[in-house]
Amino acid sequence: MADLNTLGLAEARDLLRKGETTSVELTEACLKAIDAADVLNAFVHKTPEIAMERARAADARLQAGDAPAMCGLPIGMKDLFCTEGVPSQAASRILDGFRPEYESTVSANLRDAGAVMLGKLNMDEFAMGSSNETSAYGNAINPWRRDGDDTALTPGGSSGGSAAAVAADLCLAATGTDTGGSIRQPAALTGTVGIKPTYGRCSRWGIIAFASSLDQAGPMTKSVRDAAIMLGAMCSHDPKDSTSADLAVPDFESLLSGDIRGKTIGIPREYRVEGMPAEIEKLWNDGTEMLKAAGAKVVDISLPHTKYALPAYYVIAPAEASSNLARYDGVRYGHRAKLAQGDGITEMYEKTRAEGFGDEVQRRVMVGTYVLSAGFYDAYYNRARKVRTLIKRDFEQAFAAGVDAILTPATPSAAFGLGEMTEADPVQMYLLDVFTVTVNLAGLPGITVPTGRDAQGLPLGLQLIGRPWEEADLLNTALALESAAGFVAKPARWW
């Protein structure tokens, strides 16, 4: 048997149910792998006691034949999820020492489904970033390296710790959140699978907010099947979240067949962006052929407002963030700056927030403040909301014309070296989300699947975008793509 930590959710579950291993064994294997991988800086708060306690409880349930979907399966938790009694600080100094007195709905769902939490995972501060370089914990490192080159690469962001941990087999799967691509982009850069469900599928209650109208949680896994299993455990209707959908959650795994004959796949011409690297172009064409070969009909489609998705996103997300992050004021929790003689409340706010927020968060909070300020609201925020309507309409028209899913590249390139982008201006970094933000703006489900490697051996992924609430169908198409691509590579262990 392979090392237990290298298993996926489905395999491990099957072994557990057959009695061929135990949750304690699985958990110990993961904890050992985590301790040996500190250099990746993926796990930033380890919770071995909680993990072992839950593993033992899971084993008892398994023995009693009362095992829910994720029973005994060790996973990592993005630091954005509030977990009761466990540090939860969104990779920000401003939440230093914050231990919530409550458990987020999604992490509670996973816990109730028997999952074993191994610890909290690195991420970009407040999920603002595409390379995990804005974290107060320092960079997370991609376990993948270019062939014959030991440059440290980004695992992507913001769920960089989750992606690195799953790719390096430190856990069987991990939670992520996705506001503009924060699940799908790092999944693509680490050869893992990541799905962002339809906005409203997963409760946002207890997840530290970045941009409320865009944030969604989702799983990051080693396979499409695992994504189906874990997504089912994460989703629920939550009366505590006004935007959570009151819809039944299908049994995603049981709906997986890999049969996509007769399905229509749209290829949006606007995603063929200027300067797209040839290997991304090829990856996309290969994916298209794979789906065709699997029996799908492929059609060219147009999503004419695609170009405006990023600028709209960079109005809406910072605007919402500027307001969502106003609560970090040093009054009720987290960091409070040391004050000088005579400092009043305003100085406390300003010093606390200057010390507590990193550069990128400060930048976005201030941009958001600006676009909402008197005289600019209509020109920026309202206009961006109108453009958002148009972007969503583009997709609705494509779906209305019979398209079942849309295939696009996941990222404009493979993982880049840490620090390579920090010298560039902020906009260059924002462009990394070009293929993923549209999906958040339209509230749609999107999944990335690894389908190839670049010339230097780094993983590359494709994205599939589905109809709202039809994650089951989307996962099924993703399974077909995964099977056809047969991506099995793993990063060579160097850590």
Binding site: S213, I345, V367, Y370, R385
Partner: protein, 95 residues
């Protein structure tokens, strides 16, 4: 649209983030890059388009008028940097 240092300073003030004067030029430059990028939105014809209010339309959830929360002051205060006598303490607010 060009953001000068005084606008950058005003925005920082509104956002309650202390920015040292020497950092203002770079901040203003960042703003200008980002806003320049955002300006692309002006190319879009949005005549007659409704701004999006909710990405997945549904009826706003309601709760009943029932008290089943609160009564846990200790938990509310447990993470406070400075709590005294059941209150959050902050530097004196001058009205």
């Amino acid at each position: 649209m060009s953001i000068d240092e005084s606008t950058a300073a005003r925005v920082a003030k509104l956002a309650r983030i202390r920015v040292e004067p020497e950092a203002l030029p770079e901040l203003a430059e960042d703003f200008n890059r980002i806003l320049g990028f955002i300006e692309q939105l002006n190319e879009v014809d949005v005549e007659g388009v409704e701004p999006m209010t909710s990405v997945t339309p549904m009826r706003l959830k309601r709760r009943e008028d029932q008290v089943d929360d609160g009564g846990h002051a200790a938990q509310v205060l447990s993470n406070a940097p400075d709590a005294r006598e059941g209150f959050f303490a902050v530097p004196k607010v001058v009205e």
